[in-house]
């Protein structure tokens, strides 16, 4: 059941609550202070990219917030008293949770403002920030009467404030790099989906590959590089899908659970292509059953590949490549 479907046993606000990050101040060891530049925050994406900090030794980030709540509705309907507005910052990976109360901003009704502090040692990857309106309702204190529709993401390392994540690609020598890579020394790339984020390692021993991927070379190289990138992305989606499915938590009654991290997000995105028309939960159960040997796992593979190829724009990249090659040939014969 989606959040919106929940029936609450008490009156809630129907107007929207919105929040925006107004400033980010970083503090480092000693007297180091830094105001994060405005391009680190995107109000459209609702992301703060702390990777834009000039110095990498900051310890805490103070995030300035402005929220707006439907004040007229609160006044007019009169259901709610002791209204407070709080910001909640959480990250699942570190079980971190901190809360700050906002204060009514002087002058304009419905505007609240405040700050919440984040300690770098308490966070790993992405913290999410939501604002809630809490009030006493029908004698019960502490009721959540409204929340922001979409959370802000505080990304600890990203340079750009974007919600969609970029693939982590590293170029390393497979023969001289980490021991486990040696077994793959003839491969141009490997995908490692076991970590915090999927990671692609390009083999620097594979001559010309890095140059091809960087897209700095000739027209032909650029065309091939684009195609290769799409193909690698498809490999990543496939690997991530299999990793996620292979490591599902299963309830006592056999119901598989969506992983709480990005693996869950990947499954939710790919399942509609694998079992069109079925609910995500249903599709997950079906895939899980087939994987553990009840039903055909092999029959499913083409659909997994299709879902992966769609997500990585392989058809589009291929079409572009074909067209570009035609153009190049025409140029050569012109």
């Amino acid at each position: 059941m989606g959040r919106g479907m929940r029936a609450y046993p008490y009156p809630r606000l129907s107007g929207a609550v919105t929040a925006r990050v107004t400033a980010v101040r970083l503090r480092g060891p000693g007297e180091h202070r830094e105001q994060l530049d405005v391009r680190a925050c995107s109000a459209v994406e609702q992301v703060v990219a702390l990777g834009r900090a000039e110095r990498d030794d900051w310890r805490t980030a103070r995030i300035g917030l402005a929220a707006s709540v439907p004040a007229r509705e609160i006044r007019r309907k009169g259901h709610w008293s002791d209204v407070s507005v709080v910001a909640v910052l959480t990250e699942g990976a570190t079980n971190a949770r901190s809360v700050a109360r906002l204060s009514p901003a002087p002058g304009s009704e419905g505007d609240w403002a405040g700050e919440i502090e984040l300690d770098r040692d308490d966070h790993l990857d992405r913290a999410s920030l939501t604002v809630h309106v809490v009030a006493r309702v029908e004698g019960v204190a502490g009721r959540i009467i409204a929340s922001t529709e979409q959370e802000w993401m505080i990304d600890m390392t990203a340079d750009a404030p974007l919600r969609a994540r970029q693939l982590d690609v590293q170029t390393v020598s497979f023969t001289r790099g980490a021991e486990w890579l040696r077994a793959f020394r003839d491969a141009p790339w490997v995908v490692d989906a076991s970590g915090r984020m999927p990671n692609v390692r390009l083999n620097s021993d594979f001559e010309g590959l890095a140059a091809l991927m960087e897209g700095q070379g000739s027209k032909v190289e650029r065309v091939v590089g684009e195609m290769l990138l799409a193909q690698i992305c498809a490999d990543v989606w496939t690997a991530v899908f299999h990793t996620a499915i292979g490591d599902l938590e299963v309830e006592d009654d056999g119901t598989p659970l969506f992983p709480p991290d990005w693996r869950g997000a990947v499954l939710r995105e790919m399942l509609p292509d694998i079992f069109p028309g079925r609910s995500a939960e249903d599709a997950l159960r079906e895939v899980h059953l087939r994987r553990i040997g009840e039903g055909s796992w092999a029959d499913l593979q083409p659909r997994i590949h299709l879902a992966a190829a769609r997500r990585s724009d392989v058809p589009k990249a291929l079409a572009t490549t074909v067209r570009d090659i035609e153009l190049l040939e025409q140029e050569m014969h012109a």
Binding site: R6, Y8, P9, Y10, T60, S84, V86, V88, T90, G92, A93, T94, N95, A96, R97, S98, V99, R101, E117, D119, R120, D121, D122, H123, L124, H132, V134, V140, A141, G142, R143, I144, A178, E179, W180, D192, S194, G195, R196, T243, D247, E249, P260
Partner: protein, 295 residues
């Protein structure tokens, strides 16, 4: 039975799931085989730097003592003994503790014998072996053999006081169900759950599960953080405590160790929530209990 690794290097290391996969054999999961420790340490990535807290023998000594202290009792009894001492020995920031590769290395490279002893199920028939579930080696923080202990100590301690951790870890249902829930990330909530265990309001697995589900469900409409605010945490205290591990003596084996001197959770906050949770529990459906509120 799986034995203590033959080769134990000086420092702790990191191991990815992909690297771990080749060492998690059926033989290991059934406790029939050892982990080839030389091969494992060849691919594991040693932790950088020369900090005392990364010395492997400090953790291994603790595990040896846990095995010695608990050997005759039920393996589950080891959780309450080991959780605070592991937390105090392995002083980590939360960011460091969220590193799955460290826990995987502890389970495979430092103490696979402990994981098998503690988590192997009873054999399901003659000539069959019991089995450790894979998640005890490489699972999420609420399943993995050592991560679950460290995190329960981190989430249930009250400042430097580990006594609530001992209570929480003394009840497998509390440890298993509460650690999965986000609500325990709010300290007064975690401590109020412990209070109800101490008072005997909840005892059996069914009661504990009914309580934690009711508390979790109510959190969708109630903001515990506002009803029972915690103090702002001073992370510098934790940083100092971590730094002090350079000169720390081994964790006491008989007495409880002391954690970082952070301020305790406000007593009235814990009071407010434990009364609320008691009320939620009274009205919650418990399997096998006649319904209290009437459906």
């Amino acid at each position: 039975m799986t034995s203590r690794p033959e080769h134990l290097p000086e420092h702790l290391a990191l191991l990815t799931d992909a690297q771990a996969a080749e060492f998690i054999s059926d033989g290991l999961l059934e406790g029939r085989e050892d982990v080839p420790s030389i091969a494992l340490n060849k691919i594991a990535e040693p932790l950088p730097g020369d900090e005392t807290r990364w010395q492997l023998h400090r953790v291994r000594d603790l595990i040896d003592d846990a095995l010695g202290a608990i050997r005759d009792a039920r393996p589950t009894a080891a959780d309450a003994w080991l959780a605070p001492r592991l937390h105090e020995t392995l002083r980590l920031t939360r960011r460091e503790a969220s590193e799955k590769r460290l826990w995987t290395y502890l389970a495979l490279g430092v103490a696979p014998d402990y994981v098998v002893w503690r988590h192997r199920s009873e054999p399901k028939g003659q000539g069959r072996y019991g089995r450790v579930s894979r998640g005890r080696f490489v699972g999420p923080h609420y399943t993995q053999a050592f991560a679950r202990l460290w995190w329960s100590a981190e989430l249930f301690r009250d400042g430097s006081d580990y006594r609530p951790v001992v209570v929480a870890c003394g009840n497998q249902d509390m440890l298993n169900s509460a650690l999965r829930l986000d609500v325990v990330d709010h300290r007064p909530t975690a401590l109020a759950l412990v209070r109800l265990l101490e008072k005997g309001t909840v005892r059996t697995g069914r009661e504990v599960n009914a309580l934690t589900s009711a508390v979790n469900a109510a959190a969708a409409t109630l903001m515990y953080d506002v009803m029972a605010p915690d103090v702002e945490r001073d992370r510098d205290v934790v940083r100092d405590w971590i730094r002090a591990s350079e000169s720390a003596v081994p964790s006491p084996r008989n007495d409880l160790p002391e954690g970082p001197e952070e301020e305790r959770a406000p007593a009235d906050a814990v009071d407010v929530l434990s009364s609320l949770f008691e009320e939620l529990f009274t009205n919650a459906p418990v399997r096998g209990r006649a319904s209290a509120g009437g459906d």
